[in-house]
């Protein structure tokens, strides 16, 4: 059922570009073999060895390759937790050492498989990676440990230029974020800028708490300003969590507006018709991204009455 959903989602949402076609193929492989593999090794954890989920399809298929080869050629490594449960206190230190050695080697075996696949797909992959970057996206997200941009979007190394700070704020006097936008737009010529917030954001909650937080005050003040801009709407929401969640969304929209106010974005768009700015929110309860569907053209037009930094 799960795989059918994946394939369906790709079939309906993806175009027929070559990159997507490759992914579809991987998904077909996945859907035809995943059940067997799951039964083979019910306890196996999905490749944290790869680190990246990479592209969902590619890594999943890759882990299958690795797992099936290990189940036929070598004895599958038991998970430490389950083996220690079954043998209770009798597991000796040599068992532990053996487990550590095997689990350590598994990482490198998976890594070799991954590297070989990348190379087979594109013999120049690593050479190109070392030579330079050409990312399509600038990701402006929260520092929160639960939202690693690359893993939740399935993007690969080289795909997204990343800036992460407390509560994904874009402040006009912050040289740090302004430099990131400048470099990403003018030098790397990214096509999309994504501001990604998340529900249950600790930064947003801290900002709504009546408390002196020292050096965090000037930073979190920006979120209080977002509240003030939307005071009526927010005050009208009786339930606290719903109010916080709406503030998270409004904060993302406001930060998108701040990105659009910058000179690099306005000037590049006037000249190249990119980048486009998007506002997304990540939900922990289901792991899904919600597109706030910001109308980039409309916001740009709206802010340029006052913030126009182009020549026209």
């Amino acid at each position: 059922m799960f795989n059918a959903r994946l394939v369906a989602s790709f079939l309906t949402r993806q175009s027929s570009s070559s990159r997507c076609a490759t992914k579809l193929n991987s998904f077909s492989r996945l859907s035809s073999t995943a059940n067997t593999t799951t039964q083979l090794r019910p306890g196996v954890r999905f490749c944290s060895s790869h680190g990246s989920f990479g592209t969902a399809s590619r890594t999943a298929a890759n882990s299958l390759t690795h797992q099936s080869s290990s189940s036929t050629t070598t004895t599958p490594t038991p998970r430490f937790a389950s083996s220690s449960n079954s043998s209770s206190s009798s597991s000796s230190s040599s068992d532990v050492a053996m487990y550590l050695k095997q689990s350590h080697e598994r990482v490198f075996e998976s890594n070799r498989t991954w590297a070989a696949e990348q190379k087979a797909r594109d013999p120049e992959f690593f050479a190109k990676l070392a030579a330079g970057q050409n990312p399509e996206y600038l990701w402006i997200g929260c520092s929160d440990s639960r939202i690693p941009a690359e893993q939740i979007t399935g993007l690969e190394p080289g795909d997204a230029f990343v800036h992460r700070n407390i509560a994904n704020l874009v402040c006009n006097t912050d040289l740090n974020a302004m430099s990131v936008i400048n470099y990403a737009v003018q030098h790397l010529e990214v096509k999309h800028i994504v501001v990604c917030g998340h529900y249950g954001c600790g930064g947003v909650k801290a900002a709504m708490t009546a408390k002196d937080m020292g050096i965090l005050n000037p930073w979190l003040r920006n979120i209080r300003d977002v509240y003030r801009l939307h005071e009526k709407e927010l005050d009208a929401i009786p339930e606290e969590e719903a109010r916080y969640n709406r503030l998270v969304e409004l904060n993302v929209i406001e930060q998108c507006r701040n990105v659009i106010k910058t000179a690099p974005v306005q000037q590049s768009y006037a000249k190249n018709k990119f980048p486009i700015v998007h506002g997304w929110v990540f939900g922990f309860h289901d792991g899904l991204l919600k597109d706030l569907e910001i109308d980039f053209e409309a916001v740009l037009h709206d802010i340029q009455k006052i913030y126009n930094l182009t020549d026209n």
Binding site: F27, S145, I166, H187
Partner: protein, 236 residues
């Protein structure tokens, strides 16, 4: 691939990822929603080739992250300071890892005499200062790539000094043994090298003579061991 395609790709890929994670472990997202308790604060470069959680082999929930241009730690930057304060004082991370990388565009810009433009030149000021402080050593390196690697290392050293002077970090080192590490990620081979700066004050080149110099950064699903001049990843 058109602009719209790449955009849809990321969204649909997220859909696939969320489905897979939930399928593999139904408790994954409910657990994630209950809060974060990362052990590592990662201060790295925005460069798209340095996805921290990926290269550390860790999972969502393991690493609190700030990434900026050329991983510059500037003492008066409110953005970085807010991240450090939140991670060290409120989340009580056990490790602060400042990580530079090879073939860094910021390092190349700092080594050049041309103006980058916009706000970037101002942002790169601390890195320029590192260059001028080590002008002789850098000039003596004939290979451009090797020079960029060296300034990236010196940049990490300077950043670690700023971190060690941060009051929140000083308090945490004294009160609960917070550790500060300075590392370099080699994009060409995918390995992280411990440069030996920070709380241990070891020299990476001569470290690792015996097992006692090993340090382990533990994530929930994997751990990173600093041994001598290298870092190795171990999946739990």
């Amino acid at each position: 691939m058109s602009q719209q395609d790449t955009f849809l790709y990321a969204l649909s890929s997220n859909n696939a990822w969320a489905g897979y994670k939930a399928h593999q472990n139904p408790n994954f997202f409910p657990k994630l929603a209950s809060g974060q308790s990362p052990q590592i604060l990662w201060l790295g470069c925005s460069d798209s080739r340095c996805p921290e959680t990926v290269i550390l082999g860790l999972q969502p929930g393991d690493v609190f992250v700030h990434r900026n241009i050329a991983n510059i730690i500037s003492p008066t930057d409110i953005n970085t300071s807010a991240v450090i304060e939140y991670a060290v004082v409120h989340l009580k991370v056990k490790h602060v890892v400042l990580c530079g990388h090879t073939s860094c565009g910021g390092a190349a810009a700092a080594l050049s005499d041309t103006r980058v433009g916009g706000v970037l030149d101002t942002w790169l000021t601390p890195l320029k200062a590192v260059r001028f402080a080590h002008q002789e050593e850098l000039d003596a390196i004939k290979d451009d790539k090797a020079r960029a690697v060296r300034i990236a290392e010196l940049n990490v050293e300077a950043g670690v000094k700023v971190l060690m002077a941060n009051f929140a970090i000083q308090d945490a080192i004294r009160e609960r043994g917070l550790e500060v590490h300075g590392c370099l990620f080699d994009i060409g081979c995918g390995r992280i090298k411990d440069l030996g700066f920070g709380t241990k004050g070891r020299n990476g080149a001569s470290g690792g003579l015996n097992g006692s110099s090993e340090e382990v950064v533990r994530g929930k699903h994997a751990q990173l061991a600093f041994r001598g001049g290298n870092a190795q990843m171990i999946v739990r």
